[in-house]
């Protein structure tokens, strides 16, 4: 009898967690993500420490005598063209990737959720306007739009945040709008209406918690996409300027790859691959666990 005890933990979340725990791949991915998160936190602490002391952080100090050292006990992932430790720079890259993933989500998700809720709940003119707004945004070619915003805002992280954040709210807005339309007709919402509750209360206290799983899944799946875009932008020189972003590391590593300096390229590539893969797989698993109706694929 492995039926769960009905006295405790029958909420959606504990139910989903129970389902997720049986998925071995998802748990491995979760472990990888926790590891990356710790790296990013460590990177942030180091970064803030040097910023507070107003010194050049050690991952930026150049030492030309130690350039192009292959991986060794002193430098686990070798050193780059200016003698800087690849592993430390990789950790700083993780910090930037996390910042981009989180801050762009903090811009895009509230916009999308708020507009989606309003459109779904009120319908009519409000809905028409919001649908018009997101279909307009959706018709502009994505990457170019992001790059154009970054160009207008100026080079640097702010451009990356705004570019990605202001263009990627459309997907979640559509999803939330659809969900709210479905929930609006349900008995619990009708009951709240009958009690005379105000619309913000019905919308944000009653309906929103019921569609929250959509937000979680969207966050997990848009995080790697945002990281990928940042790498791409930094690589092109439009994104991060003076910090060791993964895109900048790939750009400098690719020149030296041809002369046999394989380590920088390999480890950066591996880091991006692992992070993106872990988030993608976890996102799929979360979707299956939270909302079995949305299952992808046949098994």
């Amino acid at each position: 009898m492995d039926r769960p005890n009905t006295d405790k933990g029958q909420s959606l979340w504990s139910d989903a967690w129970r389902r997720l725990k049986t998925n071995r791949i998802a748990m491995v991915c979760l472990g990888i993500i926790v590891l990356f998160t710790l790296c990013a936190l460590y990177g942030e602490v180091v970064h803030q420490y040097y910023q507070a002391k107003d010194q050049t952080p050690f991952y930026k100090l150049t030492n030309l005598d130690a350039a192009y050292r292959p991986p060794s006990a002193a430098h686990w992932m070798g050193t780059d063209a200016l003698g800087r430790d690849v592993m430390q720079r990789l950790i700083q890259g993780t910090r930037i990737a996390y910042k981009v993933g989180i801050i762009t989500s903090l811009i895009a998700i509230p916009i999308g959720v708020f507009l989606g809720c309003l459109a779904g709940y009120f319908g009519g003119r409000v809905d028409d306007f919001i649908v018009w707004l997101y279909s307009t945004f959706a018709s502009i070619p994505g990457l170019l739009f992001i790059l154009a915003i970054a160009m207008v805002v100026g080079r640097g992280l702010t451009g990356v945040y705004l570019g990605i954040g202001l263009t990627t709210w459309v997907g979640i807005c559509r999803l939330i709008r659809g969900e709210v339309i479905k929930h609006k007709e349900q008995a619990y919402v009708q009951a709240a209406h009958a009690l005379g509750l105000s619309w913000p209360r019905i919308l944000f206290r009653h309906i929103l918690p019921n569609v929250f799983h959509v937000i979680i899944v969207t966050f997990t799946l848009r995080f790697p996409a945002a990281v990928g875009t940042e790498v791409f932008m930094s690589f092109l020189g439009i994104g991060v300027q003076n910090d060791p972003s993964w895109g900048i590391m790939i750009n400098s590593a690719r020149m030296r790859l041809w002369q046999g300096v394989w380590w920088e390229m390999t480890f950066v590539t591996l880091a991006i691959f692992l992070l993106v893969l872990a988030f993608n797989l976890l996102g799929d698993a979360l979707r299956d666990a939270l909302d079995p109706r949305l299952r992808t694929g046949g098994n």
Binding site: P141, L147, V152, V276, G297
Partner: protein
């Protein structure tokens, strides 16, 4: 049916207007005048003004009676008196300039004013005398006073009887019509199908776009078709072997392919296939051989996502009742798959395909800039790197319009196939 098409085309108008408005807000309102960004801080004021005049940036944004001019910078003489000090008899003290009596002083304009419109000069000053500006009385008194003058060509300031102290000055150009704004200029330009002029090459944007589209299509069309055929074939293969290790292998492969960054495909492809193995040329755009590697990379990088997508569609179809009926009647597994499932899966596949078509036009930004293919993606990246606003805006606009048109075509195709769509 004609009714439906007309109705659907009318629905297109708000979206097109929205796209125009968004590009306007992005490049004119948020971006401000790009002249400084493009030409740097040391450019001459008259070249900046000429740049703005050509692109309509020297007008009010939406509506307005007056607009800034670069002929005279607004100044409150807090730190510096600027060009005023070049004239004898001008001194700068305590956040104001003092024009000594007995001289005549010209306002240090960076370039001469236009004669087709009036200007408005606002000065704050005081004096004990009766100063003149050209033929007009300046109207200052003993206390600080703001004076507004309308003029076409400013004459010289002549302090009479006593020196004049000036605390702030600003010059505005008066618009002949308040509706003569940047927005109207932009709409007029688009109505003429004029996308402006690239400042870095001085060519018309429409010509640049026309030149870039062929190389872009030469790259993206093969990627599109090869990718489509491969992923549909593989997805049928997965559907045929579903829930076996073959299927699972492809599912894992597609997630792995999706997780590899685009950059990595390009760098690895150039390094291993072109440099180490020497199967392809590394860089350039001379004949078909040069396209082989970028096409291959494009196909592989897109394969993960589309394989997953088509596999889901195929499996959705494969669980339908008609499939079970056909199998029960003794139709073979492969025949059901190819004759029944594939045909019914065509509707979502076609939607996906038509929606992807506009993206063929923008090309692949990365592939083009890496392999030196002179297409629109390459053009776009160079334009963004040199802040070439008109080019970026042109590419964004055309891309968006093509997307809107493709959407229209999809919906019309749907309506032709399925009469229920029209009733919605």
């Amino acid at each position: 049916m004609p009714n439906y098409i007309v109705k659907r085309m009318l629905q297109m108008i708000p979206t097109v207007l929205g796209v125009i408005l968004i590009t306007f807000i992005l490049f004119n309102v948020a971006g401000g005048s790009p002249a400084l960004k493009v030409m740097g801080p040391h450019a001459q004021a008259d070249t900046l003004e000429a740049f703005d005049e050509q692109r309509g940036f020297n007008k009010p944004l939406f509506f307005g009676f007056r607009t800034k001019t670069r002929a005279l910078e607004d100044s409150d003489f807090e730190r510096t008196a600027g060009d005023w000090l070049k004239q004898d008899g001008v001194t700068h003290t305590n956040g104001m300039i003092v024009l000594a009596e007995g001289g005549s002083y010209s306002i240090p304009l960076k370039f001469s004013l236009r004669d087709d419109c009036e200007y408005e000069l606002v000065m704050e000053g005081r004096t004990d005398g009766f100063p003149m500006l050209g033929k007009n009385k300046l109207g200052f008194s003993r206390d600080w006073k703001k004076v507004t003058l309308r003029l076409q060509t400013p004459g010289k300031i002549v302090p009479v009887d006593a020196p004049v102290e000036i605390r702030s000055i600003r010059l505005r150009r008066l618009m002949n019509s308040p509706f003569d704004s940047q927005l109207l200029f932009y709409f007029r330009q688009l109505a003429r199908l004029d996308f402006g002029v690239s400042h870095s090459t001085n060519q018309r944007v429409s010509k640049l776009l026309a030149d870039g589209i062929v190389p872009s299509l030469m790259l993206t069309v093969p990627i599109f078709f090869i990718g489509l055929v491969t992923s549909i074939a593989l997805s049928l293969f997965c559907a045929f072997w579903r829930d076996t290790w073959v299927d699972r292998f492809f599912v894992i492969l597609s997630v792995a392919l999706m997780s590899i960054n685009y950059l990595v495909y390009i760098v690895a492809g150039q390094y291993f296939l072109a440099f180490k193995a020497d199967w392809f040329p590394v860089w350039g755009f001379e004949d078909a051989r040069y396209l082989a590697l970028p096409v291959l990379i494009g196909v592989i990088s897109g394969l993960g996502g589309s394989l997953r997508f088509y596999r889901t569609i195929m499996l959705d179809e494969a669980h339908r009742d008609y499939v079970r009926t056909a199998r029960a009647k003794g139709v073979s597994k492969s025949r059901v798959l190819f004759r029944h499932v594939l045909k019914n899966a065509m509707i979502p596949i076609i939607t996906n395909v038509v929606i992807a078509i506009p993206f063929l036009y923008t090309g692949s930004l990365l592939l083009e800039s890496f392999f030196g293919i002179p297409g629109l993606g390459y053009l776009g990246i160079t334009a963004i790197n040199s802040s070439d606003v008109d080019v970026v805006r042109g590419i964004v606009l055309i891309g968006a319009f093509m997307f809107v048109i493709a959407n229209l075509l999809t919906d019309i195709c749907y309506a032709a196939v399925d009469p229920r769509v029209k009733l919605k």
